[in-house]
């Protein structure tokens, strides 16, 4: 594929007389945010699609040039607002990479703990919202009921349900309150059967399979070309997870933890748990597989949380020395990608190139996983029916907060 951009496909101009231009959004009763999708349809068949973004643009990157890294932390919460912990982690690690800081062991395990709980919470929204897009109202409520419990745990921990600012540069902001670990373990214990219920209502449901299997098939080469990451990439059969294959500053966080990378390799998914079987109609890279990867990742995250609870109990030391507010950033740049629930989130922080040490970065750049995942939507939707578009958008699990920043 050439690196020169091809002529952008502007759906609105290339309209034949019997084709219709339809707009989905920006307000429509879907959980993904303010996304506008312009569709060119011939009857029910979609012949072209262009997503229009920018409705949630809040100049986050520019604001980063005026704030110190610790001040910028709450802005990262609002990127992927459904997985704030993971956003905090990405930013904190990027700044730590620039400064050469290393968190303590206790902070490392705490970070794993909350990030994996955040991953479960994000995937619950993805699964429940996906059911809602397809007309299944009940799994949405059940998924959110479980998510509420996670949010309650987070509220106890840092005082906020959605915008945590908990993981900060140098460590975490506070230690666990007493009894929190027991409550977390209780939550995990009662959560396991709920996953089975969600499988019954969605994964193995014949109508769900008919709506998602074979829809929006994404080949692995196309996925890599468009820069898709996370469950979208793993759903196409590419076993790539930054928690194992990323930079050492990130992967050392998961050193010693045992978990599987969920992707279909050589025709099989990892078999460490009794997962529901893959139906015959599902094609690797279709919406069903992307959804399935998320459901299996939830189980893996649960395993990680249990291990983190154990290792936190054994760790000694403090929760880390938090960066002093007016600490001057050195000259240089640091870019780090982490495995967020929706894909690879990259944060770049650049110190002043002129050499004047300043506590405020020269440039902040955020590489959004959903942005690249959404860019493949035009390819996926060509030739599908209008009713398949929400199914495909839901399977990509985009959140406009991080696309628009």
């Amino acid at each position: 594929m050439s690196i020169l951009p091809t002529e952008p496909e502007i759906v609105e101009l290339d309209l034949a007389s019997d084709e219709m231009l339809l707009n989905m959004g920006p307000q429509h009763p879907s959980t993904h945010g303010v996304l506008r999708v312009a569709l060119r349809t011939d009857g029910e068949v979609v012949t072209g699609l262009t997503p229009h973004i920018g409705y949630l643009h809040r100049c986050g990157e520019k604001i980063g040039e005026n704030l110190m890294p610790r001040q910028f932390l709450p802005y990262t919460d609002r990127l992927d607002y459904l997985a704030g912990m993971n956003m905090n982690l990405g930013w904190a690690l990027a700044v730590e990479k620039l400064l050469g800081m290393e968190p303590t062991e206790k902070a490392r395990h705490l970070r794993v703990l909350v990030c994996e709980l955040g991953r479960i919470a994000s995937h619950l929204v993805a699964a429940g919202g996906y059911g809602l897009d397809l007309g299944s109202f009940t799994p949405f409520m059940w998924a959110f009921r479980e998510r509420e419990k996670i949010l309650d745990l987070f509220e106890e921990l840092c005082g906020a349900r959605l915008t945590y600012s908990y993981i900060t540069v140098g460590g975490v902001t506070a230690d666990l309150p007493p009894g929190w670990l027991r409550r977390c373990a209780d939550f995990l214990r009662q959560f396991e059967p709920v996953i089975g219920e969600l499988h019954t209502l969605l994964t193995s449901n014949a109508i769900f399979i008919r709506r998602t299997a074979g829809i929006g098939v994404l080949g692995p080469e196309t996925a890599v070309d468009y820069g898709c990451t996370g469950p979208v990439l793993r759903g196409s059969g590419v076993a790539w997870d930054l928690r194992r294959q990323g930079e050492p500053i990130y992967t050392r966080m998961y050193d010693g933890y045992r978990f599987e990378i969920i992707a279909q390799v050589h025709g099989r998914y990892p078999e460490d748990e009794p997962y529901p079987a893959v139906p015959a109609e599902a094609v690797l890279g279709d919406s069903w597989h992307r959804y399935y990867v998320r459901m299996l990742e939830v189980v893996q995250s649960m395993k990680l949380v249990r291990q983190a609870i154990e290792r936190y109990g054994q760790a000694k030391g403090g929760i880390g020395e938090v960066l002093k507010p007016r600490h001057r950033l050195p000259k240089g740049a640091a870019y780090l990608e982490t495995e967020a629930p929706k894909g690879q989130m990259g944060f770049m922080v650049v110190g002043d190139p002129g050499g004047t040490p300043s506590p405020v970065p020269w440039r902040v750049r955020i590489r959004s996983s959903s942005f690249c995942n959404l860019s493949v939507l035009g390819e996926l939707c060509r030739g599908c029916l209008i009713a398949d578009v929400p199914a495909i958008v839901g399977s990509l699990d985009v959140v406009l907060g991080e696309i628009d920043r």
Partner: protein, 408 residues
């Protein structure tokens, strides 16, 4: 009933019309009241059932712990809403569409017997009439979608009309299967053929059992309930043909949907599950028949009506359960289900029922001879044999069954 009143009170001939009018109005009023009350109960039930399925509580404040006043409260709120009409809408059609839907949904109740003696207009071709009128509801949908002057509304209207019209075929086939097994289109006779214990119901016939499930699927699809509610799907089309309707007009559409659901449920109960005959022949045991006087007959009818309504509401609960459990089928998948699965299965059930009835003639309960009665004159009414009505108006007394109607 009107004749009885006239004779009893010795009304002057010039006032007969007033008696008929009053009786007609009272019966119509009772029917409207029953239907609207059922719709309100349906609405409350939907919220409670959906809430419990979704692991929450539902309305708990309006009118006490169970929120039973929620439906009237919602109705009152909708009455007070602003009456919006889109700018380019066809005003007359926009206004009329909900009422057409509701009238088409309500009219079949005229022929629906709640008990052998309780039917507004007993028709020998009741089932056919009900199917015919229920099929008119699609007009309200098409006109509503068109008159809204909105691309999305028209899309939704077309899809819904296509779906409803397609599913009328297997629905009709299922009904025809029962008519074949019973030999009559009269609902009173169909239900009376199932008198006795619950094993006398039509469900004992394995083919009719299968037909029952196909019927419930087609009924769910015909009223655009999930999993067949793509025309009203929220994620793609906002609300389909109802997008531009708000307030009271939307309430009428909504009532039409519930009315049709209840009608099809009640019809299913009569056709397949014995109608007003309960699982045990209680009326017979308690002596609630015409032989023991008017009060006993009335009580027997009331018991039957309660039975029928209970079964109807069970069917409704089943439809609601389906809605809150299953995802939505795409429109082409819904049409494929109709044409590739429901129609062939319904035809197979028809053939099977014909063979079963033939083989079982004179079988289990000796009620087979009922199937022959009335088979000739019901189905072959032609224009050359038509009779002109002598007396106008509704609710001539049930002419086919003696009062009480509990002939063994």
């Amino acid at each position: 009933m009107a004749d009885g009143l006239i004779q009893h009170f010795g009304v002057y001939p010039c006032w007969h019309w007033l008696v008929y009018l009053t009786v007609g109005l009272v019966q119509a009023g009772l029917l409207v009241a029953m239907v609207l009350l059922s719709v309100a109960v349906c609405n409350w039930m939907e919220r409670k059932v959906s809430a419990r399925i979704q692991d929450r509580l539902g309305p708990t404040r309006a009118g006490g712990r169970f929120g039973w006043l929620q439906s009237p409260a919602d109705g009152l709120k909708l009455l007070c809403k602003e009456d919006l009409m889109p700018a380019g809408a066809d005003r007359m059609l926009f206004r009329l569409a909900p009422y057409i839907s509701f009238c088409a949904a309500f009219a079949p109740y005229l022929a629906l017997p709640l008990a052998p003696g309780w039917v507004v207009q007993p028709l020998r071709t009741a089932v056919f009439f009900m199917l015919a009128v229920t099929g008119l509801e699609v007009f309200g949908v098409i006109l509503g979608g068109y008159a809204s002057h909105s691309k999305w509304a028209l899309y939704g209207a077309m899809r819904e009309a296509a779906q409803v019209v397609s599913y009328e075929i297997p629905l009709g086939l299922c009904v025809v299967t029962v008519v074949l097994a019973t030999g009559t289109m009269d609902l009173v006779q169909i239900a009376d053929a199932q008198q006795g214990w619950f094993w006398h119901w039509h469900l004992r016939n394995p083919f009719l059992f299968g037909t029952f499930w196909i019927y419930m699927t087609c009924a769910t699809a015909g009223t655009n309930r999930a999993p067949f509610d793509l025309p009203e799907a929220e994620s793609e089309l906002v609300a389909g043909f109802m997008t531009e309707y708000s307030g009271f007009r939307w309430l009428i559409f909504f009532m039409a949907e519930y009315t049709t659901m209840l009608l099809l449920s009640l019809l299913a109960a009569i056709l397949f599950a014995g109608g007003w005959n309960g699982p045990l022949p209680l009326a017979g045991w308690l002596g609630l028949s015409a032989d023991n006087g008017l009060l006993a007959a009335w009580l027997g009818d009331a018991l039957g009506a309660c039975n029928l309504l209970a079964k109807g509401f069970l069917g409704l609960t089943f439809m609601m359960w389906l809605r809150w459990t299953l995802p939505r089928l795409r429109i082409d998948q819904a049409m494929a289900t109709c044409l590739k699965y429901c129609v062939p299965l319904a035809c197979a059930m028809l053939v099977g029922t014909a063979l079963w009835t033939f083989g079982m003639r004179g079988g289990f309960s000796g009620k087979a001879e009922k199937e022959d009665r009335g088979a000739d004159n019901n189905v072959q009414v032609t224009i050359l044999n038509s009779q002109f009505a002598i007396l106008p108006g509704p609710a001539l007394a049930p002419r086919l069954m003696p009062e009480g109607g509990r002939n063994p």
